[in-house]
């Protein structure tokens, strides 16, 4: 089902952080949300996830407005991957992933065999099943990030909303995670994620939402949205977009962004 934002406006108190944002995303897409710090990416996420009520406008899934959906219905529709943090209690990795099943279980129930199978499958999908019994507080930051993505998968939602999924990952794990996200999109999941690296958008996004000061600056394919002019507007620093020619082992036509001045 399409995710539609219509004139979404909101913020904290009297301060407007997101101003009149409208777009429609389709299942199967990988959409990257880019923009400078404080441009409203996180606030927009909060309004999509109904953590913050928009002052104006609405978010809908299909034809239905989601503003009054129950938390469990929302969680069955949106799997959210937050930026990783460390909880005060040393849960096992599998216990963390099983929390995704809360939206599928009755209030007094706890996860059963089938839920554990789903959790292990999600861990296996990301190649971290061997961490299932490790303590979440004792694994590396990158591994924790992968666990949170596994948890979002175990939520079995139609949409994945990821807040900088690559922020704590090494180069290899970044590629693994983006590939996994791409594969998931091919199975029909919709993906919306923030990133600070335009290269990631060039490599893995089907579309890009570029934000600046709470407004949408561009919404298009990466090649059309992330032009040098747009990047200057969004980040206030001149960049060049360089196309890498076909070399051995590299797909031709990959673009990367480099700063004009070092």
């Amino acid at each position: 089902m399409n995710l539609t934002l219509e004139h979404v406006t909101g913020g904290y108190g009297s301060r407007t952080v997101v101003d009149d944002v409208s777009f429609t995303l389709h299942p199967g897409e990988v959409v990257c949300l880019l923009g400078a710090n404080g441009c409203g990416k996180t606030t927009l996420f909060k309004m999509i996830l109904c953590l913050l009520r928009p002052r104006l406008g609405c978010v809908s899934l299909g034809d239905e407005k989601i503003a009054d959906w129950s938390r469990s219905r929302l969680a069955r529709s949106f799997g959210y991957v937050p930026q990783m943090h460390i909880p005060p209690f040393a849960f096992e990795v599998r216990e963390i992933v099983l929390m995704a099943r809360a939206a599928h279980l009755a209030p007094f129930a706890s996860p059963g065999k089938e839920d554990r199978r789903i959790a292990d499958e999600a861990l296996d999908y990301l190649g971290i099943l061997h961490l299932a019994s490790a303590r979440y507080t004792e694994i590396s930051g990158g591994e924790r990030q992968l666990v949170l993505i596994a948890r979002a998968l175990a939520q079995q939602a139609q949409w994945l909303i990821l807040d900088e999924p690559a922020a704590n990952l090494d180069l290899g794990n970044q590629i693994k995670v983006f590939r996994a996200i791409g594969e998931l999109a091919k199975t029909g999941l919709g993906v919306l994620m923030t990133t600070h690296v335009p290269d990631h958008a060039f490599m893995y996004a089907s579309r890009v939402v570029l934000m600046s000061e709470g407004r949408v600056l561009a919404l298009d394919t990466p090649a059309k949205a992330l032009t040098e002019a747009m990047l200057l507007k969004a980040y206030g620093v001149p960049f060049s977009v360089v196309e890498i020619g076909a070399q051995q082992g590299i797909k031709s036509g990959i673009r990367i962004v480099v700063p004009n001045q070092l």
Partner: protein
């Protein structure tokens, strides 16, 4: 993509499994039975196995042993188990709810409110049942006040932080009111009564008290036990728990109502017995891990054991009975320090 690297690592990370956690709980229950039976035997009037047998075999002799066992010893043991289990369970739930291992069940002012209720009851010269009822009500009122104020103040921002801050304020305000009550109480009979009552003791427990406190404590414990797995999700923090499908406000309200029923009922029959709700959950976490599915039952069982043992000391250590509240603080504080040091050593 779906490859598992380092399959041999699997064994290194094996931690107590589900079944083992179940077994641990069974062993702990057995321990509770043993401690309870042992506690029933010792005291100023020792009960021999033979006395137990004559009571159990229903040959009512009306002897001293039977009266001591049925009218004094057993009600007291039951009260210890009820209060110890209840407070530990409430403490473990609060530590999950507030996402903070330093929280105890009186964080929102339940104990201070119940203490004030009892102090006022004694000051007004009410009879014992009325004092208990007033104490119970006082605990509920304090927490309701904290909840209402926090909800009113917190339109945005972190509702949990606001609740804790308001709770601490209410608690200290009620504590000041207790002091005021003591100050104006008759220093010859009422002041000692209030002071002794606030110290906490199981010395005057009657079978009737078991019913009075047992019903609210059970009413608080059962929903907490039913909802216990969901407390795990709350440990991820307010916003994340909501994105995982939790109605955090409803959950918070339920947990607070249940824990307050337990705490207020406990204080109303035995006064302020501190530290159990803070220390025992830590002890339980060391045994079964942080998963609330096992943590809550383990904390409840261990809380019962802990208070039985402390009350055994209170009854038998001196010629004069020591108020149990003093002992839980004397034992609890150093014990907590020991746990913290152990945890730190474990980490490094």
């Amino acid at each position: 993509m779906a490859t598992v690297h380092n399959p041999d690592k699997t064994m290194d990370y094996r931690k107590p499994h589900r079944l083992q956690s179940g077994k641990t709980l069974a062993l702990l229950s057995l321990l509770l039975v043993v401690v309870a039976l042992g506690s029933s035997a010792i005291g100023s009037y020792p009960i021999s196995p033979h006395d137990w047998w004559s009571v159990l075999s229903a040959h009512s002799t009306g002897g001293t042993a039977e009266i001591v066992l049925l009218q004094i010893r057993l009600p007291r043991l039951f009260a210890c188990i009820l209060v110890g289990s209840g407070l530990a369970l409430a403490g473990a739930s609060y530590q999950g709810l507030f996402n903070n291992p330093m929280v105890s069940p009186d964080i929102l002012g339940a104990s201070a409110g119940a203490g004030l209720g009892a102090a006022l009851g004694i000051l007004m010269g009410l009879d014992f049942v009325a004092i208990q009822a007033l104490s119970f009500t006082g605990g509920l009122v304090a927490v309701l006040l904290a909840w209402a104020l926090a909800s009113g103040l917190c339109r945005r921002g972190d509702p949990v932080l606001m609740l804790v801050l308001v709770g601490i304020l209410i608690g200290s305000m009620f504590t000041a009111l207790i002091s005021l009550t003591k100050y104006i109480a008759d220093p010859l009979n009422k002041l000692p009564a209030i002071t002794f009552w606030l110290l906490g003791s199981f010395a005057s427990i009657t079978p009737k008290d078991i019913w009075f406190a047992g019903i609210p404590i059970a009413a608080g414990c059962i929903p907490l036990l039913l909802l216990r797995w969901r407390l795990n999700v709350l440990c991820m923090g307010e916003q994340e728990a909501r994105t995982l499908g939790m109605n955090t406000r409803a959950m918070r309200f339920t947990v607070i109502v249940c824990a307050t029923l337990i705490t207020a009922a406990s204080v109303s029959i035995c006064g302020m017995v501190g530290w159990i709700g803070l220390v025992v959950p830590h002890l339980a976490r060391m045994v079964v891990g942080p998963n609330h599915k096992y943590l809550l039952p383990a904390a409840a069982i261990m809380g019962g054991c802990f208070l039985l043992l402390v009350d055994d000391v209170a009854r038998t250590a001196g010629a004069l009975e020591i108020p149990v509240g003093i002992l839980t603080a004397l034992i609890g504080a150093p014990f907590f320090l020991f746990l913290l040091m152990r945890e730190r050593r474990h980490k490094s």
